[in-house]
Amino acid sequence: MRLRPPRRHLKNLVAEADQFRRRALFGFAVVLVALGGLAAWYFKLQVIEGEEYAQRAEANRIKPRPIVPGRGLIYDRKGRILADNVPAFRLDVVPDKAGDPKKLVAELGKIIALSPEDIAAFEKTRKATRSFRPVTLKLRISDDEAARFAVDRWRFPGVELVPYLNRRYPYGPLLAHVIGYVSRIDEKDLETMGETNAAYTHIGKTGIERYYEEVLRGRIGFERVETNVEGRAMRQMGVQPATPGADLRLSIDLDLQQAMVAAFGDLDGSAVAIDPRTGEILAMVSLPGYDPNLFVNGISHADYKSLIENPSRPLFNRNVLGGGPPGSTVKPLIGLAGLESGLRTPEFKVFSTGEFHIPGQRGRGWRDAHGGAGWTDLRKSIAASVNFYYYKLAYDMGIERFDSYMRQYGFGAPTGIDLVGERAGAVPSPQNKATYSKEPWYPGETVNAGIGQGSWVATTLQLVRGTAAIADGGLLRRPHLVAARRDGYQSPWLPLAQPEPVRISDNPANVRAVQEGMMGTMMPGGTGAAMARGASYAMAGKTGTAQKISRKGNVSFNPHLLPYHLRHQALFVGYAPAENPTIAVAVSVEHGGYGGTTAAPIARKIFDAWLLGKMPEPDPDAIPVAPPVVTAVTAAHAVAEPAR
């Protein structure tokens, strides 16, 4: 038995107090030294170097100013400029120097036309920016206005005419849905971009301009500029140059694009032409279009309203945002799925009676528009678009397998094109149905899916990709718009890397059979024969019609006699030349009636343009000037303001 617990477990109060005093003293010594050191550091800044800092405070007129790099240019595949920058002047205000902003706007408004949009944008950015940073009040000052301002300049301290590069789209509506547009940076953009980037005034909002924003934008530089009392730049002190934005070369061919628009005439719709060997998009239109130039410096309310209220929805890119049932245009791919799954051989025949019944079910079945086609194999089923063949095929496959093959062929997922916000679309399946309906899946829906109807949603882009895959022997590629970039005018063009294509068929004979069926479409007896008449090259394709309303009873009717908005979507997919394809297209005409009568002729014109060089006359109003060589705007330019 121990009388005392071990010593080290007892508190030794005297020792603790001593220990604390030593530590506290040490701590105080550290504090004393550190605060003394801090005081010495301040002494160095304030007393020893004070004079220098006082001068710098005085010289806070020497300010870093951003150097905004020129935005990268966009070319077509043959090197024609599709988006460039033109020098322009804007009016910047330094709120710190300019006094009461309300009075300023009122006074300036007397000599320069300020729209409500200009004033609203100015107010917004002004509140989000430090008061000594310039804020843009108006872009694209006219020569007249610049001259008038120059006379009255002395009355407006802190207001400056600043040169900048204004984005221009020489072809206007022709490429609106491909290139998109830039627009003024707003508060929200500023939050994500950070303060330094406020100097870029513009940012890509849609299309290529948005997808490649970071690439096109370049990197901001800055210079130290001495400003006078009014905040005007007087002298440059030092520069860190900006990195110009990269130029992009699209795979789009301007001539083909024009031919495509001309082929549509007055019709609304969309079309994509693609090089099946690479996935490069040769032309892509969504009609009607709009003029992207309207958006660059802030669109007026009137213009915007007319675009928004137009029932044809010109701002809507039908190729990537639109979509609906693909109709018969997916039959070649469904046929391929039949072969790949082993349920069919190319020679396998079904007897089309004109009406398909689910085994064990009685009553009315699924009809063929053209009545019974008799014995039908794969090739005939494509060429003559025999619904019966596909009703039975889909039924035999079952919806799960059907869905899985269609997904392999690229439906129900974005194609990965270099545009923002592409729609995924949908393939009919019980899982998909469960997301929008409480009803169970009916076998009849499987049958309906077999002819591209029902809850299918396919975009034109998905259709052209699938078609190109057949044309290219079973390789599914990523459709893309930008072929190459270069970092600066003197640099070489560097092709952009593309993902490896996905092989959708291991059996060339299967793909070949489908190809032959598509060639049959364009031959006498096929649904597209009229379109191919008189062509000097062979082509392959598939017509389609997507119903907007369902047929009631056994009534046959002429779709052209329906009210316009209820008319079917006319579709065509195809490629040419049939044996060595260099172009694949998908055409969708809204309210076009039958695919064979409206969509196919448009495709023929596109083929002719690409293969035979039959191009429409170029629009004389849309010829761009030589590219400006300006790569960046600096304050040095600002010193030399336009003379009166």
């Binding site: 080290r8 477990h9 007892l10 508190k11 030794n12 109060l13 603790e16 107090a17 220990q19 604390f20 005093r21 530590r23 506290a24 701590g27 105080f28 504090v31 004393l32 550190a34 605060l35 801090l38 005081a39 550091w41 301040y42 002494f43 800044l45 304030q46 007393v47 170097e49 004070g50 004079e51 220098e52 800092y53 006082a54 710098r56 405070a57 005085e58 806070n60 870093p64 951003p66 710190d96 430090r130 008061s131 000594f132 950070g194 303060e195 330094t196 100097a199 901001i220 800055f222 130290r224």
Partner: protein, 370 residues
């Protein structure tokens, strides 16, 4: 008449008895300076002055109330206080608001920053834990104390608030230091921090925090963005000279060149307007406050009071050094307020409350000690 006078003087004596007048005078001086600088930083507006004044009243009341509380009773309550202060720290992760994270809880009347509470409750908790153990602390005691520090610090870093997290951790470490933590531990911890720094850089710091550090190393690399603050603040400080440009005459602060000039950068305004003399006076006041805390701690008769009062004094030192260093370009910008000078409620109140605890230590010495 005499009775009333006597009653009155008794009352006053009762009210002020527990206050430590040397400390109070120094704090009062700092508060007056704060209000003056807030006035000129606010470009002659009285609103921030009144708001800050109101906070000082609340903080002063808290200080007085705590100073009347016997330290022994505070000690008994400590675990409960610590537990209670952890609750809002967890809550802020879910319902908090803030620019770079969830720092504040919006109480409609004012914004409440729960992490500030820990600057007081964590040292209290550690002091409570250590006073029960023989000192210097043994290995397992140090490890448990380390866990006590890591828990709230980790939560604050989740917000994420690097500056406050660091300060809370440091205020805890000071308790251990004053309790006699072996120099070996201190050396090992310092080495550990140095080794962890590169890891923190790659996995832990947010891009904006890395920006701040990179810009600190080379402010000229981004003169339009983050570097701007450091450059302008340094110019403000340096241009103050010997005696400054005079109250309300600071061109840097008035012309809006200085960012956050009422909060984290208030010391730059003071430096510009009152020069090195002003800086020296304020630093001396802080030195006095810290020294007084340590002196009071040394007089205390129990471990709890001792290490707590000492740690609170040393914690204040860290704020002063970090803030003074960051506004003058000596240290990276980490968002640490200058005690009492900076505009902000929770910080001022928790600081004054902490000093109230120190005063309680001076006023109520336990009869029998453990």
């Amino acid at each position: 008449m005499n009775a009333i006078l006597r009653w009155l003087s008794d009352l006053v004596a009762r009210i002020v008895r527990t206050l430590d007048w040397p400390l109070c005078l120094a704090l009062l001086a700092l508060m007056v300076i704060s209000l003056m600088v807030q006035y000129s930083a606010g470009n002659g507006s009285l609103r921030p002055v009144f708001a800050q004044g109101a906070r000082f009243m609340v903080g002063g009341a808290a200080m007085w109330a705590l100073s009347r509380l016997p330290a022994m009773r505070l000690r008994t309550w400590t675990p409960a206080i610590f537990a209670l202060s952890m609750l809002p720290l967890v809550a802020v992760l879910f319902i908090g608001t803030g620019k770079h994270g969830h720092h504040w809880i919006d109480l409609k009347v004012f914004y409440f920053q729960p992490s500030e509470l820990l600057k007081l409750s964590l040292p209290m908790m550690l002091a409570w834990y250590l006073h029960r153990e023989p000192l210097p602390p043994r290995v397992h005691v140090v490890l448990i104390a380390g866990a006590m520090i890591a828990l709230p610090t980790g939560l604050i870093l989740l917000q994420p608030d690097f500056g406050t997290g660091m300060l809370v951790a440091v205020s805890g470490v000071f308790v251990l230091f004053l309790a006699g933590l072996s120099w070996w531990w201190i050396g090992a911890a310092a080495a550990g921090v140095a080794a962890a720094a590169p890891a923190a850089w790659f996995w832990w710091l947010k891009p904006y925090q890395k920006d701040r550090i990179l810009t600190f190393l080379n402010p000229e690399s981004d003169p339009l963005g983050t570097g701007w603050n450091i450059i302008q603040s340094k110019i403000a400080v340096g241009s103050g000279g010997w005696i400054g440009k005079g109250w309300g005459q600071g061109s840097q602060s008035r012309l809006d060149y200085l960012p956050e000039h009422t909060t984290d950068f208030i010391f730059a305004v003071l430096s510009e307007e009152f020069g090195w003399v002003g800086v020296a006076v304020v630093l001396s006041l802080y030195l006095f406050v810290i020294g007084r805390c340590l002196w009071i701690a040394a007089q205390a008769r129990d471990t709890y009071s001792r290490v707590l009062a000492g740690a609170l004094g040393l914690a204040m030192f860290v704020y002063v050094i970090v803030n003074g260093g960051m506004v003058s370009g000596l240290l990276p910008v980490v968002g640490v307020p200058m005690p009492l000078l900076s505009y902000g409620g929770t910080s001022a109140v928790s600081l004054l409350a902490g000093l109230g605890v120190v005063m309680a230590v001076r006023a109520h010495k336990p009869m029998h000690v453990r």
